[in-house]
Amino acid sequence: MLYALLMLATLGALIGFMRGDAYGVPVFILALFATALAFVADITDALTISL
């Protein structure tokens, strides 16, 4: 669900760009930061796969 929400935010930015709305770039920045946070949360979790 987390990744689906991140992709929904990306879709929101794309719709903003297609419609020429001013919110496109802020939504992109939101999606980018949220993805970066999800990545940081992923790398700081203990690994559950065998290396």
Binding site: M1, M7, M18, F39, I49
Partner: protein, 187 residues
């Protein structure tokens, strides 16, 4: 608008879309659900493809100004830096000798290795756009063939990936680290 510049933007977006489509086809053809890092790389790639889409779509309305080129290139560079960090992380996870890697290799490399190359090329392409900013900016506004189609295909790719990740994670907040089946359809 400079024809070569238009072609570069369309090429940049369509190469990223082709890689995403390839990963999506590999997911179903080889029966390999993507891991969390793979999904985050896809998200970063779709965010990077927003850059050329922004420039093409905005130039159609407002003309190709230096501001539009700079914002479009910045979107691609920022998203590609994040994507490169994620894919390098996955390369490093499987760098030990004897490690088979995650998923089947395609043309000799795993998808996350191809992703590092794609993100590096995207950053280089955006740098070239910024380098030629004074030559490209100021061209007359006109209909750009393929601009809306590129945005539409990116939208379809996003919706397909949203459905795929919901099928994979079910109603769980996170994906399993090493997914083997689609949780929405399994008991």
């Amino acid at each position: 608008m400079n024809a070569l510049y238009r072609l570069t933007l369309l090429g940049n977006a369509w190469v990223l879309l082709a890689i995403l489509a390839g990963a999506f086809i590999a997911q179903f053809a080889m029966g390999e659900p993507p891991c969390p890092l793979c999904v985050m790389q896809r998200i970063a790639m779709m965010l990077a493809a927003l850059g050329p889409c922004y420039t093409l779509l905005t130039a159609q309305r407002e003309g190709l100004s230096a501001r539009v080129i700079a914002i479009g290139a910045s979107i691609t560079v920022l998203a590609s830096l994040l994507g490169a960090a994620i894919s390098i992380r996955q390369v490093l996870l499987h760098i030990l000798p004897g490690d088979p890697g995650f998923g089947a290799p395609i043309f000799g490399y795993h998808l996350y290795t191809w992703a590092v190359i794609a993100f590096a090329c995207s950053i280089a392409a955006s740098g070239a756009q910024l380098l030629g900013l004074q030559w490209f900016a100021g061209s007359a506004t006109r209909l750009i063939p393929g601009a809306r189609l590129t945005g539409f295909v990116l939208g379809v790719m996003l919706v397909a990936n949203i459905l795929s990740v919901v099928a994979e994670a079910g109603f769980a907040w996170h994906l399993p680290d090493n997914p083997t089946r689609y949780l929405l359809f399994s008991r």
